[in-house]
């Protein structure tokens, strides 16, 4: 029996099966692609995290331990590719004589690098001038000492005679923070600033110079073993982190106290795994509504054949079929749809993945989950209505068609309003928690996501969809005369009739409106979120780097604002803005002070309102412009000094002529929490002119360059050629990489392309397909109208009327829901944005594209239906 039934379905009902299977295929392929992309991007995060680390481990030999033993044990540890010993010596100072004057530095660190160090750890050093090996001077030190390759440096050794070396080259240490970390410091401790003065010696020379010192003062000379590990790690950052951390602990156990492991790789992966979790949550959350929409569309397609199915089932029951038989046959149909749709969906996902990204490694678990989801969709859309009909006590009851429309139960109970209220409640509750999404309790290796926070947007989306239904129902029912009036331009004297048909069939129209609104809101919120994300990624990079390209003058180098002119001439440079970098004492506390030109500073970089408190960015810059002695301080300073707006604040800055610190009065104008180039610590922002006058020094700390969107790297290179070694040139790209694998550096483009394409597809389908199905159920009505004398234009009036109502309501509601969702999502996923956005970035181009495609789909349907309706098949009239 089942085979007979199935054969019949496949041969004669293939359209109905194919339609439902297509819906399932969309849902499955969306989920599979998301899963695949997620896996791929997590793997990318891991790779990037491992690649940005210069030295995987720095194992510090503890006082009293035998460095050689530490080296051997470390080298023998599993996963270690190479282990090189590095000597570290702390000296009171370096000196150099050039052009008759002697420069002396304060405390300095000397490193002894063994042969092959640069080959093993290429990212730790970057040659600026001179030779790549031999005696190397860090760039800032070279500037401090006015030294260059060929200069002679004197090393002071406490208790021992000084030693001289000849500089072979000047290098940059891009990862100084980790290189000079305090290995073994507790995790909560503040990161230590890297030393200003660094000298690098070849290992042999290092031992010659410092072994005697080590004997006399072992506290000043230590050894670290720098380890390069195999990067064959699990692709998932979490798993990689666990693996690497465990290995680190194992080594420490093996060393039994002789050495402490500074796990740079682990730290990098830690950041990566947090971001991976965000990514996972983000992708799933943005993508799941898409799958749900595909499911709803499938349900719509499945319901198009509902009358026929019900008749078949009533017939089966009449002829003695038991409920079990009816359900079994429906289950067979559902299974065919599910398997077929699932297979096509997986195939499509694989094809798209191959075309768009090259082949992707799909996790089998995810594929199975996507396939199962497809089966669930098929089961729900084909099987559930059957079960519902079977609950009718009589065959006649189940065969009955719907008479005058009764209000659905949920509408009577106000379910839509309940859901929306609940969502706002959840939203408010989570706002009190600052929307903490990813919880990483200290010391606990696992991190978890507080998923319940997403209930807010989820409930809102559902509730808003139901509300859209209610509003459509209300409008078509109570507002019939209004609808008729609105349709008069399209339908003329038939407007009243068209409004009557829409009103009596408002369930079909409401269904189309809701699906369209949900699809459009999904597309809008996903695209807006993505655009805002990109916007903030740019802002974050600029915050860290200062601007597109930043030229940081070496300390001691005196360049005035006029230096901007030279930079402005470099091709690709749009604006150059000088920014002063000074040090000021407030009380006994030394803080950085940045002098800016308030009127123009915003041209070269982005100043977000979120950086400040007590006014918007524009307002505070305005204050600094109008009130030159105004100053922006950190929140901590305000607390420490109990400041109120306008209060006098006396700082001590260094006078250029006397080299003494003089008192300069300022007035407190507002709080600056962040500022381009400023550290995470407390700092001041003041008016550059005022500072220049007060310190009789207009020297610039850095130049912020805006390339206006041009290739940053190319411009940066040109600028580098112009400034030589007297300044460091950084650009957005390199700073982004140096930050590590933060989410901002992960390329979301591929994934959002998938989601946005599907959103487009779903919007077109929701608009066009659902409308088409609704109109197809009205074939007979159009045929009759045509037989009664309706001409093409009049028939078009009916169709266009329905299409227009669907489109206008769907678009308006979709836009409203989309906007509300975007705001909600951005607030909830605040942790993802660094810094948080002032306002949403609206992707107008994409939204217009979606709108255009939806209108086109609807237009195509209207055109096709009008064409078909005008030439009625007389057989349609003969059908009962």
């Amino acid at each position: 029996m089942i085979t007979t039934w199935l054969n019949g379905l496949l041969r004669r009902r293939s359209g109905r099966l194919a339609g439902a299977a297509a819906g399932v295929a969309i849902a499955v392929s969306l989920l599979a692609l998301l899963a695949g992309f997620l896996a791929a991007s997590k793997a990318t995060m891991t790779t990037r995290a491992t690649q940005t680390v210069a030295v995987d481990w720095q194992v510090e030999a503890q006082p009293g331990a035998d460095p050689q033993a530490v080296l051997t044990t470390t080298a023998a540890a599993p996963g270690v590719k190479r282990a090189l010993p590095v000597g570290i010596a702390h000296v009171p100072g370096l000196a150099a004589t050039a052009g008759g004057s002697t420069q002396t530095t304060g405390n300095a660190v000397v490193l002894g690098l063994p042969a092959g160090y640069r080959a093993t750890f290429p990212r730790e050093l970057r040659t600026l001038t001179g030779a790549g090996t031999g005696v190397l001077l860090a760039q800032q030190t070279a500037a401090n000492l006015h030294a260059a390759p060929g200069s002679t440096i004197t090393i002071t050794r406490p208790g021992l005679p000084p030693v001289t070396e000849t500089v072979a080259g000047v290098v940059d240490l891009p990862q100084a923070d980790s290189l000079f970390q305090k290995v073994g410091a507790p995790p909560q401790s503040q990161p230590v600033a890297p030393p200003d003065n660094v000298l690098l010696l070849p290992a042999a020379e290092f031992h010659r110079v410092f072994d005697p010192l080590a004997a006399a003062r072992p506290d000043l000379v230590t050894t670290q073993v720098h380890v390069a590990r195999s990067h064959a790690l699990p692709p998932d950052p979490s798993a990689a982190f666990t693996s690497v951390t465990a290995s680190g602990h194992n080594l420490e156990a093996a060393l039994s106290g002789a050495g402490v492991v500074g796990n740079n790789l682990g730290a990098s992966l830690d950041a990566a795994r947090k971001d991976a979790l965000y990514a996972q949550v983000l992708f799933l959350f943005l993508g799941l509504p898409g799958a749900i929409l595909a499911g709803l569309l499938t349900a719509t397609v499945a319901s198009a054949g509902m009358t026929r199915r019900r008749r078949e089932q009533a017939l089966m029951r009449t002829r003695g079929g038991t409920d079990r038989v009816v359900v079994r046959l429906a289950a067979v149909e559902a299974a065919v749809v599910g398997v077929l749709g699932g297979a096509v969906g997986l195939g499509a996902a694989a094809l798209i993945a191959w075309l768009a990204f090259g082949s992707m490694a799909f996790g089998v678990a995810w594929l199975v989950a996507a396939f199962v989801a497809g089966l669930v969709v098929a089961g729900a859309t084909v099987l559930l209505p059957v079960r519902r009909d079977l609950r009718e006590a009589t065959v006649v009851g189940s065969r009955a068609s719907v008479g005058r429309l009764t209000r659905p139960r949920w509408m009577r109970y106000g379910l839509d309003l309940v859901l929306i209220a609940a969502s706002l409640l959840v939203f408010w509750a989570s706002s009190r928690n600052q929307y903490t999404l990813v919880l990483a309790p200290e010391g606990v290796p696992t991190i978890s996501v507080s998923y319940w926070v997403f209930l807010g947007p989820a409930l809102f989306w559902l509730g808003a969809g139901l509300l859209a239904w209610r509003l459509t129902d209300l409008l078509l029912d109570r507002g019939r005369s209004g609808v008729a009036a609105a349709l008069r331009p399209a339908a003329g004297p038939l407007a009243g009739t068209v409004a009557a048909t829409l009103s009596r069939q408002r369930r079909l129209v409401a269904r189309a409106v809701v699906l369209l609104a949900l699809a459009l809101s999904f597309a809008a919120s996903t695209a807006t979120f993505n655009a805002t994300y990109q916007q903030q990624a740019e802002v974050d990079a600029r915050l860290t780097n200062g601007a597109d390209v930043t030229v940081t003058e070496a300390p001691g180098v005196q360049v005035g604002p006029a230096g901007a002119a030279q930079l402005a001439r470099v091709p690709g440079v749009r604006t150059v803005e000088p920014i002063q970098h000074r040090f000021a004492y407030v009380g006994s506390d030394l803080q950085d002070l940045y002098g800016v030109r308030p009127a123009t500073v915003a041209k070269a970089t982005s100043l977000q309102d979120g950086y400040f408190q007590g006014g918007t960015a524009a307002q505070l810059m305005d204050v600094l412009a109008k009130r030159p002695d105004g100053i922006l301080v950190s929140a901590e300073t305000v607390k420490d000094f109990q400041l109120r707006p306008g209060d006098l604040l006396r700082l001590r800055l260094q006078d250029a002529k006397t080299k003494q610190f003089t008192t300069v009065p300022f007035h407190y104008a507002g709080i600056a929490k962040e500022f381009p180039t400023a550290p995470k610590d407390s700092f001041f922002v003041a008016n550059a002119d005022y500072v220049a006058k007060a310190t009789r020094n207009d020297s610039v700390g850095a130049f912020l360059i805006d390339t206006g969107g041009g290739t940053v790297a190319a411009v940066a290179d040109r600028v580098r050629h112009v400034v030589g070694t007297s300044a460091t040139v950084t650009d957005l790209a390199t700073s982004r990489a140096a930050i590590g694998s933060s989410l901002t550096s992960v390329d979301l483009a591929g994934l959002t392309r998938i989601e946005l394409t599907f959103a487009l597809l779903l919007a077109a389908a929701a608009g066009g397909l659902v409308l088409a199905l609704g109109l197809a159920e009205r074939r007979r009505m159009f045929a009759l109208a045509s037989a009664l004398g309706a001409n093409r234009r009049q028939l078009a009036g009916f169709v266009v009327g329905e299409a227009a109502v669907t489109l206008v309501l769907g678009a308006a509601l979709g836009a409203a829901i989309g906007w509300a969702l975007s705001e909600m999502l951005v607030k909830i996923l605040t942790g993802v944005f660094d810094p948080p956005p002032d306002h949403l970035a609206v992707p107008w181009a994409y939204l217009l594209g979606v709108g255009a495609i939806t209108v086109a789909a609807i237009g195509a349907v209207v055109w096709a239906v009008v064409r078909a309706a005008h030439r009625p098949a007389i057989s349609v009239l003969r059908e009962a």
Partner: protein, 230 residues
Amino acid sequence: MSTIESTVDTVALRAEHLYRFYRAGDEEVLALRGVSLDVRAGELVVIAGPSGSGKSTLLACLAGLDEPDGGTVRLGGRRLSHRPEAERAALRAEQLGVLYQYGNLLEHLTVEANVMFAQSLLRSRRGDHAPRALLASVGLESRAGAYPGELSGGETARAGLAVALANDPSVLIADEPTGELDADSEQRLLDLLTARAAGGKAVLVASHSAAVMRAADRVVQLRDGQVVTS
């Protein structure tokens, strides 16, 4: 096999004082007002009456497809009304055949497959009523492999009859089976129905066709939900 012995006075289908309400918009209408009716084995009974008299409602209650609000229906001596649907379905499968005016066939199966499907829906399969024989008995042997959409009006009616008889029911209920047929097709179908009654089975037909009424053993007039003459 039906356990009803074919004696002259055996009542195959009995309805006693049936009442049925239904809702039309805001109103409640009484479609059946105390209808009583007997159909004996070997009888062809026709229920006639104007549209709106309650014929279809009566037939639905008699066939166990609808529950009367008052009164009982007995099929072969066993109560059909006021039973759970599962038990009604079992009784229907055993003893009842239903022939609608249209919609008797599944569109996506051939005629023969329709008959086979109907037979396999029944829990007790009757091996001696092979589908082909059944189709032959209604004159549709040659059309066994055709789909319902390809049949003429008369052929469709006869195919529907074949499916309704798939379980060799003791009672056949037909609702306007000749409504859309021309005289020849109607006569052919009618011959099959009378032959069935003559063969000792009960046949109940609702119809307004004069030809059908002429062929009946008894005509029951229904008007406004009540039996006028019996």
